[in-house]
Symmetry: C2
Subunit: 671 residues, 2 copies
């Protein structure tokens, strides 16, 4: 990595690549002032900016490793960038002396044929080139496609339709096909724009702490470097390899009767996951969970839960629950937290209350270490882990409002909003660690941001619609796994069959089965009944699906030795379990924009069927390898698209002919 | 008007009002660079801006009447503003020496309680405060409300849904309740932003020629001044006072049979308007007009048209037609215009062709005086006026594409797009004048821009949906009349019953009748069969409506003496026929944001029923006047809301008790 100053500017090069360029005629840095308007409605945000100024910092004065940036030679510097070169990497740290400057743009050189991946968990587009991506943790939207009726209706009824870039987990980090990774260290709202031919423009609504550029010899190197930077997850717990996590609720009888029925049909079960362990409340929208995270005070639905958990444990089955970093105002925990001063305040100094739909909640002030620790000790250790609960959905990290909320650390909620998912993950991680259960207790989150990697052992893809749609259906889960995987999130999974059932959109048997076929080739298989269990197809709705699902759990378990090796590799090198094909086939540009297929580890290629009513499916097999079709044993040379039968039960999966796991893989067809 | 310089800035005051303020801490001028993306699809535009810079010109150096604006005392001026104070008015003319600067923002001082009106013909909002208004002539949209199904479907199927600010006729001019009028002289894309509490911000995508500020003692003074500035229309022709213009098409037999039927039912008719005088073509969307503006070559539908026109003339009825500034590529006029070089070219130097839906058209290059004159001589004089045609819809002024079009005057089509409606109006005006028919031939346009006032004798409100909707139905026509009237457009009218019938939206009998009741109190009554004549209610669909409509035409004709006086007043002072109530009641702030009612001249107040199924209606009667309800004769003191019976046939209309026209008005009830 080399800084080359020239008259009127400078560049930073690595080998043949120009990774940074600033010159008077095309400056790399801009600063300015804006007045934003950010309004939250149940996790969906209206965000507008009124830009008062945007100033090109055309003049750079280099003094040692400090670069003073101004509009003209005789003007005072508005921004100082301090450069640190470290082997194949470099970093700029930024300072400004003008506190009014709250907008920042940075340009990186780009090439026409360049591809770009990452920016957190992106559900619509894996290759980010040609679009811009606002980075702000939020509900991802229902439909996420302004041309569909579902999106329209969701927008009109609840501002909830979303768009291609909405995600629970954004991150201002990407990997370029030019073999570098860029990261902006900030928690402010950002917008990364990859639409321009000759530059990428990274916008931040604050002067960020730093820009970090890492170069790598291979894409896998870069993933590994980012994983080192952002933190690694513990290995998967042993118990999860035993089968699927069954999402079952509706109280004790229903849950455990259906569990027994599943087991009787040969379904391999690692855990029962009951969201409603904490009780329910009735609203005009239907039943909602009671957001007071304990079983002790809400025993009606699971009167014998402690005993049930022990019984399950004896049968080798874990029990999982649900929690969020909020406490409902009519629960038992709320007054305790309020009295201790552990809830965020509003501008008038009262406890801030967030409307979650006919009930209001206080927000655990996660910027206050005592508050986070109290929540961890009380909810996570005492109320969950000590009851024998082995994991939970750690939900709703996206919901920190930005107005009328004051946090204990004194930082504007606009700057803490993106940080919130990570504080929430850390709260979980710290409590689990304190209980000595790191790598054993498995909580899963949809919300994320920079650092999620360190504190969240398992991502879940959020709330897909129960359909095949391009921007909110089955196929989006693949993009979510691949993009988050590029940034060092090794473990990703999704609700089998999707979650959101609105406006008459209902999960079909076919969708459930196709989704289960994909989930068998992911680190964790988990069902969810959806938001309307009674109206949507469930795994136990008929004998054929019970049998199909049982077989998929057998496949998952059969692959456990392979998955354990992937988990070891993730801990060791930071490689994700589900990998973009380009990570193993960077010599084959056909793989660069493919977001419909993935590598399950280095040796298995999975091409999920994501459309209804198909009997065959066309897959792309990367070049330079011989492949074996799992179900037919047919050998196929890579570097071609191939159409093969893909009936229900035979998802398009291929393995490398020379894999050391070939024998294991060859046994799948007989399961 | 007084310029007051002070340390670090200056202000311009008129009496007690501060009309302009510039100081270092809150500069009035900003310049910058942007890269716009403007895409047209059938008159609807996708417009995006990538803003590279926005520079506050904080430093002003005043030298005589020239103000040099820069970022700092020691920096070169980026903008020079030359001030000319003229009595109660002032004007800045602008110059820049940096040709790259293509963005300009200007702030005017604002007050919290201020109201703002104008910006052309605004269909959704008369009082512009609290919103911003992009100013770009375009299709207005179908539905114009992102929360409605019709808008959604129009957006998805044809990018045609529109929004509140879309209008055929924008104009960068407004009147403030602080009793000044502001105008920016430019044809570039602009966006006037009235959302800020302490300033209005006027954005232009070019350095504009000038800012003009006029102050006035009254709002009527300001309207008069603007009318003087932008031009006045000729008086209405005498023939139009004779009754309604009937929009009838479908060929000779259908048109004239229905005319006779209308006359037999007592409908007073001033003209027959047949769009299809020029013939039709069949497309997959249905019948479309044949865009080759002559009867001579397309006689099939009206084989005896010249004779029919003479017969009509003898009966005191005019005949009206239709034209646009385009020629279809398969017509007789196209090759003539092309050979003469009168059609706009594309980037490759060939004739630019615009897709109008299964047919393509050349664009008359209206920047070329010979081309405009040829069109005027050929289409307007020879093909229309000389046949005895007395008027026409002069349509489609909004359709100048901005890419791949080269105009003869060498100016970028992006800067000519907004100018196009005025060039089109001037082409009509010049041809009519050359034929000695100014004030006699009546063409009407929906497209407009600064200067439309001078060249277009009659506005028409464009294509409302055939419904009662807030943003595209009957009520929007009122806002259109009031806002355009503030800028000196004296004559406004609309398609009775609306035009656009899509996605099952159909005109009802009730809508037709309510709309006709409003039209009787406008300068021109005109029916339109809608885009789907067979599926929508027409004036002659039943005997009751024929009788109702006949009565409304009698009312219109009965008011002709009053209307003639309004027309004289318009020619004399520039007052519009339909007036915002505030023009006569500026002492009553209740009138400032009312866009549901209007004054028809100084003495009649009209409060159209714009909702279905109502039997009574609440009207606001301005303070300081006694009013008489036209149908009951009931006297009512102003300054109150009053609810009165408003059955079909009795639109809420009131007159000033002491009007010199009181007797005429009192006779309306008996008609």
């Amino acid at each position: 990595m080399q800084l080359i100053a020239f008259d009127g500017g400078f560049e930073i090069r690595h080998d043949t690549q120009q990774l940074f360029l600033h010159k008077a005629g095309s400056p790399a840095f801009f600063v300015g002032c804006g007045i934003e308007k950010i309004e939250m409605y149940r996790g969906n945000f209206d965000i507008e900016d009124y830009l008062e100024s945007r100033i090109a910092l055309t003049h750079a004065r280099i003094e040692g490793n400090r670069i003073a940036l101004s509009t003209a030679p005789d003007q005072t510097a508005l921004l100082t960038a301090t450069l640190k070169i470290d082997g194949d990497d470099f970093k700029f740290t930024f300072e400004t002396h003008d506190p009014r400057l709250n907008r920042f743009w940075l340009r990186l050189p780009a090439q026409k044929q360049e591809h770009v991946w990452g920016c957190g968990e992106q559900m619509s587009y894996f290759d980010l080139r040609g679009r811009h991506f606002p980075l702000w943790t939020s509900e991802p939207g229902v439909g996420r496609d302004k041309s569909t009726e579902i999106t329209f209706k969701s927008d009109v009824t609840g501002k909830a339709g979303g768009d291609y870039y909405h995600t629970n987990y954004p991150q201002p980090t990407f990997i370029s096909s030019r073999r570098y990774a860029a990261h902006i260290e900030t928690t402010a709202y950002a917008d990364f724009d990859f639409r321009h031919e000759h530059f990428h423009e990274l916008q931040v609504w604050a002067v960020p702490d730093a820009l970090e550029i890492r170069s790598g010899k291979t894409f896998l190197d870069l993933v590994s470097k980012l994983s080192e930077r952002f933190g690694r997850q513990p290995k998967l717990p042993e118990w999860v390899y035993k089968g699927a996590i069954l999402g079952l609720k509706g109280g004790e009888t229903n849950t455990f009767t259906r569990l027994d029925n599943a087991l009787n049909h040969g379904i391999k079960v690692s855990a029962v996951w009951s969201e409603d362990w904490c009780g329910l409340r009735q609203t005009s929208f239907g039943s909602r969970l009671f957001w007071d995270w304990s079983w002790q005070d809400h025993q009606a639905r699971y009167p014998n839960l402690p005993q049930k958990i022990r019984e399950l444990e004896a049968r080798g089955i874990a029990f999982m629950a649900y929690a969020t970093p909020h406490l409902c105002s009519d629960g038992a925990l709320f007054p305790i937290a309020e009295e201790k001063g552990y809830l965020a305040l509003d501008d008038s100094g009262k406890t801030a209350l967030v409307d979650f739909g006919e009930f209001h909640c206080g927000i655990i002030d996660l910027t206050l270490p005592e508050a986070a620790q109290w929540y961890g000790d009380t909810v996570i250790r005492k109320n969950m882990l000590e009851m024998g609960i082995k994991g939970w959905m750690a939900d709703f990290g996206e919901y920190l409002p930005t107005d009328n909320v004051r946090l204990a650390n004194g930082v504007d909620a606009k700057l803490m909003h993106n940080a919130w998912p990570v504080l929430w993950a850390k709260c979980n991680a710290d409590a689990v660690e304190a209980a000595g259960q790191t790598g054993e207790a498995l909580y899963f989150m949809r919300a994320g941001y920079t650092g999620t990697q360190r504190y969240c052992p398992l991502l879940w893809a959020g709330d897909q619609s129960v359909d095949w749609s391009r921007h909110d259906g089955l196929v989006t889960v693949i993009s979510g796994a691949l993009s988050s995987g590029m940034l060092g999130n090794a473990y990703h999974h999704s609700d089998i069959g999707g979650y959101t059932s609105l406006f008459g959109n209902r999960r079909s048997k076919e969708l459930f089965e196709r989704w289960a076929e994909m989930a068998a080739f992911t680190p964790v298989m988990r069902t969810h009944e959806s938001n309307r269990p009674g109206e949507n197809f469930q795994f136990d709705h008929d004998a054929a699906t019970l049998a199909h699902f049982a077989r998929m759990t057998r496949i998952y378990c059969h692959l456990a030795p392979y998955l354990k090796q992937l988990s070891a590799e993730a801990a060791d090198k930071g490689y994700p379990v589900q990998r973009a094909m380009l990570l193993h086939f960077e010599h084959d540009p056909e793989t660069y924009a493919n977001q419909e297929q993935y590598m399950y580890g280095p040796d298995l290629l999975v091409a999920p069927v994501h459309k209804p009513g198909v009997a065959e499916w066309t897959s792309y097999l990367p070049a330079g390898e011989d492949w074996v079709h799992v179900w037919s044993g047919r050998k196929i040379t890579g570097g071609q698209r191939i159409t093969l039968p893909a009936p229900i039960g035979q998802p398009p999966v291929f393995y490398r002919a020379h894999s050391r796991w070939a024998e294991l893989f060859s046994e799948l067809a007989a399961l």
